[in-house]
Subunit: 878 residues, 2 copies
Amino acid sequence: MADKRYVYAFKDAYGLGKELLGGKGAGLAEMTHINIPIPQGFTITTEACTLYYQNSKKLPDYLVKEIFENVHKIEKDSGKTFGGDTDPLLVSVRSGARVSMPGMMDTILNLGLNDKTVAALVKKTGNERFAYDCYRRFILMFTNIAKGHPRDDMDKMLDELKEKNGYKLDTEVTAEQLKDLVKEYKAYYKKTFGEEFPTDPYDQLIEAVTAVFRSWDNPRANVYRKMNNIPYEWGTAVNVQSMVFGNMGESSGTGVAFSRSPSTGEAKVFAEYLPNAQGEDVVAGIRTPLHIEELEKRMPDVYKQFIETIKGMEHHYRDMQDMEFTVEEGKLYFLQTRNGKRTAAAALKIACDLVDEGLITPEEAVCRVEPNALDSLLHPSFDPAELKQLKPIGVGLPASPGAGTGHLSFDAADAKARHANGEKVVLVRAETSPEDIEGMVSSEGILTKRGGMTSHAAVVARGMGKCCVAGCSDAIIDEENKTLELNGVIYHENDTISLDGSTGYVYAGSVKTVDPELTGYFGRIMKWADEFRDLKVRANADTPKDAIQAAKFGAQGIGLCRTEHMFFEKDRIFHMRKMILSDNVEYREAALNELLPYQRDDFYKLYMAMDGKNVNVRLLDPPLHEFLPQEEDKIEELANALHMSAQQVKDRISYLHEFNPMMGHRGCRLDVSYPEIGRMQARAIIEAALKAQKDMGKPVTPEIMIPLTLDVKEFRFVKSIITEEADKVIKESGEKMTYKVGTMIEIPRAALLSGEIGKEAAFYSFGTNDLTQMTFGFSRDDAGKFLPDYYKNKILEQDPFATVDQKGVGKLIKMAVADGREVNPDLHIGVCGEHGGEPVSVEFFHRAGLDYVSCSPFRVPVARLAAAQAAIKYPRKK
Amino acid sequence: MADKRYVYAFKDAYGLGKELLGGKGAGLAEMTHINIPIPQGFTITTEACTLYYQNSKKLPDYLVKEIFENVHKIEKDSGKTFGGDTDPLLVSVRSGARVSMPGMMDTILNLGLNDKTVAALVKKTGNERFAYDCYRRFILMFTNIAKGHPRDDMDKMLDELKEKNGYKLDTEVTAEQLKDLVKEYKAYYKKTFGEEFPTDPYDQLIEAVTAVFRSWDNPRANVYRKMNNIPYEWGTAVNVQSMVFGNMGESSGTGVAFSRSPSTGEAKVFAEYLPNAQGEDVVAGIRTPLHIEELEKRMPDVYKQFIETIKGMEHHYRDMQDMEFTVEEGKLYFLQTRNGKRTAAAALKIACDLVDEGLITPEEAVCRVEPNALDSLLHPSFDPAELKQLKPIGVGLPASPGAGTGHLSFDAADAKARHANGEKVVLVRAETSPEDIEGMVSSEGILTKRGGMTSHAAVVARGMGKCCVAGCSDAIIDEENKTLELNGVIYHENDTISLDGSTGYVYAGSVKTVDPELTGYFGRIMKWADEFRDLKVRANADTPKDAIQAAKFGAQGIGLCRTEHMFFEKDRIFHMRKMILSDNVEYREAALNELLPYQRDDFYKLYMAMDGKNVNVRLLDPPLHEFLPQEEDKIEELANALHMSAQQVKDRISYLHEFNPMMGHRGCRLDVSYPEIGRMQARAIIEAALKAQKDMGKPVTPEIMIPLTLDVKEFRFVKSIITEEADKVIKESGEKMTYKVGTMIEIPRAALLSGEIGKEAAFYSFGTNDLTQMTFGFSRDDAGKFLPDYYKNKILEQDPFATVDQKGVGKLIKMAVADGREVNPDLHIGVCGEHGGEPVSVEFFHRAGLDYVSCSPFRVPVARLAAAQAAIKYPRKK
């Protein structure tokens, strides 16, 4: 027996929260509370979902009983009867997880229909066509969603019926034809499942609720959760709601509305309306909806109430709302509202506007922008000058802004495969469905023939920050033969097109792009973010070009300059190889002397580019064999230069081979074996800094970072190599300069012994890539082969190389911070692994008390915003 | 200025302890305290050594002053004068570290001699030959040791002198000749160093003390410390002691003595005596000493006092003593005493005898045996039956027991190199010196021509548990041409000889060996050890043969059975490869079904061999590519069987290649990807256990171990594969059986998340090999290339794969134990890495609160003893 409640009527549920009710359920409860006209119903809680999975994927009897009791309450309130033969109660069954997962979860409408209730509906509404349209839709959705059977065959039955009769629109199909279709559908159902279509509405309801719970675990939902950091444990709620009908004739209709533009943020209601239709027609892009003016034209009073209610809701929720509404024979219902998904540009504008309107504070504004979404604003858009010269080959709706150029791909699997091979593709589909998500992730942009601004393609693309042109109705797409025809020209798989998601134009070939503007709303939000955040944000940059880009994006210094990249250039690699193959210190020093001027010059340019901001240079890190050639001619050349035989060079290369190079002779282990390498690098850094200091006329304080430290004695040993040489160089110059020597913390042992190492180090930088590798025992280069099995079996929900593992790696980080600060309160602590630009990880680093994060230049704004949100959410004690 | 004391006269130093005084210094203080006749002097403390290194390898002035003050005290007590021209004080300068490091540190005798004092010595003793012998020895030792110059040239001068005059013995050299030799030596000194030999005794003293401190850091000392776990930080003390002279004529002499036999433990004084000689002649093996009866014959009163003093010292120290003594013109002095090094067999007998004599307790007896030394007793000795048939080719002293067979090697570097290539060698030398240590480590046994039971070769070999035949004077050894001649037969590098260290016989060719007896003194000590220890000791064993060996050595179960070894056998590997190359689960299952009977049979035999003791089976661990063939014909064969092309097989092999296999697709990651593997293994284990249980008539409780766990969800996932199959098998059988599922803790993350994993696991077994790899980021297969640089630079003093790293890895272990026990007080915790049989590590595991260690069968007795010593040293709260 249940000792707790699993079901709440909307009107009793206000204040119970999203965790229990899901987002949609909480919204319906709140809408009821603030007197928005909605069809009443009840929510089956997320706890019931957990219960379902714990109970071997079955609903316990006491839960079934509680659901039925709530049906009876609706019956009582509405005067209708579930399965009744005069005024039958029909309901919708929808999923509603804690956060919105659009297109992922499943919905069933018109539940409660059977041969008896459909007759009652005909009688009551006097609209036979409407009633049978509902019925056939219900059978289709039940078959497809509750039973998990593909809908293609049943769609084809309708298409054939329309074709046979020369109909273009679904609405042309007559009542009689729909009746026949219902019969066909039921026969199909029986053939497919070996049993009659269920006639008892209560059975239908339980099957539908079960289907929603089951759908929480479907592959698409799992992919979406992984993409969006949604824990599997949360589960979904189910909302059972009385049906209202937009398909009861011309005074009925349905639509979706945004209280502001989700694409640009423009402050006016943005809605689409489809007369005589049910909601799925809009969302699925089956029919292209009309502008909302159509509603104003047809029913001005309803329109007025519509606009007022929307404004009220926005005011109540203090954010842009995304709503579904239905007009049933002139009466307006809202079916749901939620905070609307928006493009990054819209998010910035809406946040600023809401501050200006006095609805929210700057702190709230900063929290309203998804940091990852900024990414789309930081990348180039098409050059307007070049666009003027070009004639578009087609146009669609500007569904998600951005510039996308690539070869044509006609299905998701193909897009994914070609992307994996490094090819840039644009996904071209008649319309997209949730099955296409991975293909969308893999493409530079999405072009669809059908569907509006709120179609699946549009919504998902905006969420991803991908450019999308939707509803390009002139396009003739032959997915089988892989061609796109536009204005009589046929484009094939290897042709390139460019999509402008901000205008909806499609161009042949590729178009030049220009850099983004970082001012306006973007600048305003980032200014607030910079005021609020505690974490400093630096960039990982190895070249002056990257350094300049990083500075433009607001980097407060360079947190990681990898010196090894500098050795790969053509004139340098040869000296590097000579150094590596030398078997005595004199030869190595000679080769290093050849490399010194290059390194010094590289560092000098970096210091100049950063104009006095801190630059943290890491000593050589990779194993030496990575620099060695495999090609015969290069080996020969090297052998000649070294007065060795090719075989000797090969023997040395083979000697340097390692079984597990990631745990091999690399990092500061190189300096322990060959102190002359660290000595040369220290000299190059200090000489460059001295020159830059002189040329800029401002002080430079070099930071020198020792990689892969695992013991304080090792740190001291390598540090002494650096300080001896650095002090010598400074003394030689007669100038003044201070510099700092610190270490990466990337070996578990270093984190464990931070209480010793912290005494000697000026700073720490967590190398979370390597720390993750060692803590998990996952080789990053190899884990790709088995990590999918870990996701599939729900052992890991996140790629630990993308989002920092807070439990394991995070525990080491927290220990290292605490132990290091205890022995050295001035210890400056940051992170320079790739996690430094990932918002969830940034929040963790804020909470762990770090001083800064360092990430790739394009992630710098993301990190700045994420750091601000973390600081607002978890204020540090000052 | 010094604010502490760095120098103590022996008579003021009693009770200050070895840490401060070093072993020798503490011994001299104690000997003074109990009225043993010793030449007086003073100890410069180990803290002075530290001071020396901190003070840029110089003695600070205040320390020099303190040393000189103590010289004056000796002058005052003895009435002699340092550098005096009537009764000159001469001193010896010796190192004395906290633990004895024989042959490693350096000694200078006769210090204080110069042209003036030597004349005084002649006058005082009336023995010109003696005085100049002292003088030339002093110059030689000073040059060699204080100045670090090789002694070869100076040795050659003496040899040439003897040759020219047809002398065989050093004692034949006349006073006049020695005078000339002294001149030659001084000229050589001046030529070599460009300065006169120092004449001021105070200068000589300071140079000698500095030399001792410097010698703490010489390469041989570093090698010895590494072998014996002696921290570099300890430093050495220096003992300055008045000289007494064994070379003052026929009523003088010198010798070494053991209060019991260091070779067999026999309870009678065991000593050697060399008349008219100084100590170095004995130790260096330059002259072969005489039996102690010689002393009894020549000076019965001195002999009586000698024996009584020795017995008294043994009683005082409650252990077998190793002493140096000198008779100076009929007066007996002891120069030092220490607990004597002994063979393992002697250690066992002495410990038991001392218990029987009421001198020590069984606990003390257990602590008197070095666990690692047992190793030598566990290995085979020559078959006595076969020995009866054989005629020895030579005989020497039975200097260190054991059986050693190998090719001849004539120098240490050669022995080391050939050993590294897997060749077994016997080191053959005229005599050994500290430079030979690494060669001795690398050889199966040592044969020397010169030197007695207390020669360098003998002492060091006993310490190592290596077999040694010393003083085989008939041998003609040509080290240059690499030949050994015995009785007219010449043996070359590739000939094999066998040494019997217990009898001193040398045999040509190899001799059959027999297993050791584990009863007698060994059995008695082990019985006590088993009573005292808390840690259970299991063995790592994969085969019934190993299991039986382990049981014989007292293993209380199998702590690690690696299942992968079972797949490499000829008829199995093919099925294994088929399994790996199958690309669908059905084919994999079919191949696994072929493997099932083999696995089951292997496990059955193990259960039977262990006769009801616990057997812990680890699921498949290595990455699958390790099983795949590289040879063309094997690939072809496999391709045919799989109906694939050879190219397809190669592609698949190449796909399975990993960059860092140690952190790749292995351990339980295989079961996550291919649950059918774990399922087959679970079935094989349980079916085997059921059959064994039935056949033995006693219950079997299988332990199934999941390798490489890193998350509790992963553990649960793999555990459920096992339990589902195991429960099914048990149900099918209709029998009753309980089994346990636990995990290796070998990934740092598992140790960090022990508080979660512990709730689900029945047991933990720390895999310290992998845990060390990941915690250090050291690939075991690659670290060999750079670890020597870590030793050289004193960053690491121990190979962390040999002795567990207590600071880093140990911290993880302690955390994991505490967190795991907190959530699961019944958690059974052990270790199965190779550290499980290493005494220092075993002590750590005892202190960390583990329940058991598991090690290779031959280490089981070592672990039992080490565990007992740990329990005695660190009693657990019961």
